[in-house]
């Protein structure tokens, strides 16, 4: 899956006599990555090639443009999803559940923590999958609220 544009051989040649510095960039294999193959056209006459080439520095580099592409797209996707979810929580959610009696009740728990007694949270758990997700979301929201209070309002932690 290696893209043809994912390898390059870059030669940097500093100023030499009256020739200014130059950067050469070619798409060759590692074996051919040297001044003689990459610097084309050669700016110096034949007998000077060796001296000129001694000054140049050639580096073979590889990258994966697919990795870059995938990473950036995933990143943007996650940011977008988070933003949408935030908007949902801010705007839509309060409208749906004005009646929810648990919202004010604060719990101080992490949903991934299995060791704690679940007596008090069991009531929140419904039977259908939707209700369970609902319950988990509620617990998570309370937790974030609590964290926000601790960190942003009371400045108890992390300040």
């Amino acid at each position: 899956a290696k893209n043809f544009e994912d390898v390059r051989c870059k030669c940097i040649c500093p100023p030499y006599r009256n020739i200014s510095g130059n950067v050469y960039n070619r798409n060759v294999t590692q074996k051919d990555c040297n001044c003689l193959h990459v610097v084309d056209p050669m700016p110096v006459p034949g007998h000077d090639v060796e001296a000129y080439c001694l000054l140049c520095e050639c580096k073979y580099e590889e990258r994966s443009s697919n990795t870059i592409k995938v990473t950036i797209i995933i990143y943007l996707g996650v940011v977008g999803a988070l933003l949408l979810y935030m908007l949902f929580l801010l705007l839509v959610d309060p409208l749906i559940r004005k009646k929810d009696p648990y919202t004010q009740q604060l719990h101080n728990e992490e949903d991934s923590e299995e060791m704690r007694p679940r007596a008090d949270t069991a009531t929140l758990r419904g039977n259908t999958v939707l209700e369970r997700v609902e319950g988990a979301q509620q617990r998570w929201k309370k937790q974030v609220q609590e964290q926000r209070k601790t960190v942003f309002d009371r400045h108890k932690l992390l300040s």
Binding site: E5, R8, I12, C13, P14, P15, Y16, R17, S20, G21, N22, V23, Y24, N25, N27, L55, E57, E61, E62, R63, S64, S65, T67, I68, K69, T71, I72, I73, I74, Y75, V78, V79, L82, L83, M86, L89, L90, N108, E109, E110, S112, E113, E114, M115, R116, P117, W140, Q143, V144, Q147, R148, T150, V151, F152, H155, K156, L157, L158, S159
Partner: protein, 748 residues
């Protein structure tokens, strides 16, 4: 702490009651209990493994689960670090322009295959369009400059706004560097949700945004937090680590090493960082495992190759220039600068953070972030050394000028023979660069103070290193020119003859960076090793060592604590510093509760109290004595365990009423026949509480607390129970000795 009585043990695999032996949020764990529980578990598995093949396989898989977990942590943290690097690079360049051949390419990768680059403008190519080119259609001129300026400001504000809102909305715990909290957690504190999955996602996402917004912060500290989140989440896959707070902290120590390993591409340095700076309990087994995990992470990152140069960090350098003994003087000077800056920075930052904590300033976290971003962006844009990102700046400063470089910092006057690299007079380009660097230094020094501690993920390593690198480069170029114009001075004589390559400004930048980072964090060995791995040359260990040692000593003269300890103290976390010696000559009897004027110690008797009496108590743990007259100690019981057990008994056991006796003895005492049956709770009592005598010096007691990881310790006099010392009591006592407010210790 045994669950059973005598050598016969209750099966430790199934806890007798769910909840017994767990901890509340913002509490400290009991290391001895956790470790002992793990050993019980291990023993059980070993015993079973002799019985059947399945159990044997399970025991083998249990033994290797630690290594598997380390592998997973390394892979995950390495992959995340790679993603963060790629995304941050791209977003940073987005402030400047966009790539036409693929919007996902950053500037460098956009011009990767371009043949149109020139020697002077190496990264300009037609595929990459600045905003001015896109919007105004022109790339030069005042108008284009203004468009670029405004777009830069716009993106910076957008990024920082996004970062702070996401943090606020999804995981407030994701803000800051995270290292002070992780230090505290590793010492046994519990902050539920601090290492959870939402924190991980939010921190990863917003870290990229914060770094890209151009704020004076780095990604290194938060990467440690990210690695710890990975470890904590992966711990849930393995019972051994999910259920045991002590074992989990071993994994977290290794994860801290992983974080630094990917941040600096320095596996050994990462392990030493974890050992020196972060960890509390670091057995040898953890040493091996963290090394393994750090390696795995480094190689995952290398295979992702985020910078396209097979290096793990942008500012990797490979020097081979020698240094001369005389140069130790400027290196030590850099050390002094680093120490002064470190001490100053800590003072200023703590003062500012205290202000934020206590005054109205703290009420507007989002606004604060936006204002600071705006100031940073407005000032940073005109100066090319502040406009570029921190790591790029450091990379440029570390870089030694060769003939192939076209950077402004290499603007020396060319001699006639183009061959000689060394020993050249500075040209006008270099002088401009020096002025810009000096301005950048002042700017970085001041803006970092108010940036660190804002409610976005923010690391301190890169800004500190940048400050040091600028100072070092300035000094290095100064020394170089001094040597050029004064070859005949006797200090330059033997080694700095004309034409010789005698002073390497890049090396000075590196030493300066190490010194400043050392002054701020007070790292020594791990810092030197990280720098050594960054450069790969043993020959620079002595300059680095000299600078970091000087820096540490100078900074210690102004205040003993590094930035992380200072933040721990500011927040009042219950952290017993292992590096600090307890100096005062108080005795256990001076620290213990109850004090002389207090009511006597609340204790339970082993067989004469009723359920009602027990439930009405309000401390979090009680010693159990034979009788209140003899005060001979039997054990210790936690209120939480007590209440859970009583609740359970009330629900399941018949005849348990408030008048029932609570009995901690092995055999129930004789009772009148009409009395309700006694409630036997010996199982939840710790039969081996730690005791010290009242004459024990506090330094020994503190040592015991630190080394064994105790929560509390009972004090006896001639065999009679006298009082109790908790970790909080010790911290309060230490605060009192240091003339600080003992009430600043907030947690247990």
């Amino acid at each position: 702490m045994k669950n059973g009585t005598g050598p016969k043990l209750v099966d430790p695999m199934e806890d007798p009651l769910p909840g017994v032996g767990t901890y509340e949020d913002f509490n400290t764990i009991d290391w001895v209990r956790e470790k002992s529980r793990d050993r019980d578990r291990h023993r059980e598995i070993t015993k079973k493994s002799r019985q059947s093949t399945v159990a044997l396989l399970r025991s083998v898989s249990d033994a290797f689960s630690g290594w598997l977990l380390m592998l997973l942590v390394g892979l995950m943290a390495g992959a995340l670090a790679g993603g963060i690097d790629i995304a941050a690079h791209w977003l940073t360049d987005l402030k400047e322009g966009v790539c036409l051949v693929g919007f996902w390419f950053n500037h460098e990768h956009c011009c990767w295959t371009s043949n149109e680059t020139t020697f002077q403008e190496r990264d300009r190519c037609p595929q990459w369009q600045t905003w001015a080119q896109l919007i105004a259609g022109q790339s030069e001129g005042v108008f284009a400059y203004i468009v670029n300026y405004l777009m830069y400001l716009f993106w910076a504000l957008i990024f920082s706004l996004l970062a702070v809102t996401l943090v606020r909305a999804f995981a407030p715990y994701a803000c800051g560097s995270g290292i002070p909290e992780i230090k505290t957690i590793l010492s046994g504190f519990i902050i539920r949700g601090y290492l959870g999955k939402w924190t991980l996602i939010t921190k990863t996402i917003t870290l990229v945004l914060a770094v890209s917004s151009g704020l004076s912060l780095g990604k290194e500290g938060p990467l440690v937090h990210v690695a710890c989140c990975c470890a904590n989440i992966l711990c849930h896959l393995f019972t051994k680590y999910r259920k045991n707070e002590a074992k989990r902290r071993e994994v977290l120590s290794a994860a801290a090493a992983v974080g630094v390993s990917v941040a600096f591409g320095a596996p050994i340095g990462g392990v030493l960082f974890s050992l020196e700076e972060v960890s509390y309990y670091f057995p040898l087994k953890t040493l091996w495992r963290s090394f393994f995990a750090a390696l795995v992470a480094a190689f995952t990152l290398r295979s992702i190759n985020p910078f396209g140069n097979s290096r793990l960090v942008l500012f990797y350098v490979e020097f081979h220039a020698p240094w001369h003994l005389v140069e130790l003087a400027p290196f030590i000077l850099l050390g002094i600068f680093g120490g002064l800056w470190g001490a100053l920075f800590i003072r200023a930052n703590i003062a500012w953070c205290r202000r934020r904590k206590t005054t109205r300033l703290g009420h507007y976290p989002v606004l604060e972030v936006l204002v600071v971003t705006a100031i940073t962006a407005v000032i940073a844009f005109p100066n090319s050394y502040t406009r570029m990102s921190g790591s790029e700046l450091i990379s440029e400063l570390f870089n030694d000028c060769s003939l192939l470089d076209s950077s402004q910092l290499c603007g020396y006057k060319q001699n006639a023979v183009g061959d000689s690299l060394a020993d050249r007079p500075a040209g006008p380009g270099l002088y401009t660069a020096l002025w810009q660097l000096a301005l950048a230094l002042v700017f970085k020094m001041s803006i970092t103070v108010i940036t660190f501690g804002m409610k976005v993920p923010s690391g301190l390593f890169i800004p500190s290193m940048a400050v040091g690198a600028i100072a070092g480069r300035l000094l290095g170029v100064g020394m170089e020119q001094l040597a050029y114009y004064n070859h005949d001075w006797f200090i330059f004589k033997g080694w700095c003859s004309p034409g010789a390559d005698c002073i390497t400004p890049g090396l000075y930048a590196m030493v300066g960076a190490a010194a400043c980072l050392g002054g701020v964090t007070r790292m020594t060995v791990s810092l030197v090793v990280i720098m050594f791995e960054l450069t790969g040359g043993l020959e620079y260990i002595v300059p680095l060592m000299a600078a970091t040692m000087t820096s540490k000593w100078v900074a210690d003269a102004f205040g003993r604590e590094g930035i992380y300890e200072a933040h721990i103290r500011l927040n009042g976390y219950p952290f017993l510093e292992a590096k600090e010696e307890f100096e005062h000559n108080s005795l256990a009897v001076d620290v213990m509760r109850p004090r002389r004027s207090d009511p006597p110690l609340a204790m339970l008797t082993q067989d004469s109290m009723t359920l009602g009496e027990v439930e009405s108590t309000h401390y979090s743990g009680f010693p159990v004595v034979v009788s209140s007259e003899s005060q001979r100690l039997v054990g210790f019981v936690f209120r939480r365990d007590l209440l859970i057990s009583i609740d359970n008994a009330r629900k399941r056991q018949e005849g348990v009423v408030s008048a029932s006796r609570v009995v901690f003895t092995e055999h129930a005492p004789s009772q009148p026949p009409e009395a309700p049956p006694p409630l036997r709770l010996r199982g939840i009592m710790d039969l081996s509480p730690f005791t010290v005598t009242d004459h024990t010096a506090m330094d020994i007691t503190v040592d015991i607390f630190r080394k064994l990881g105790l929560r509390q310790c009972l004090v006896t006099h001639n065999g009679r129970l006298l009082g109790i010392i908790t970790k909080k009591d010790i911290l309060k006592h230490m605060a009192q000795i240091a003339n600080r407010d003992p009430d600043s210790i907030l947690f247990n």
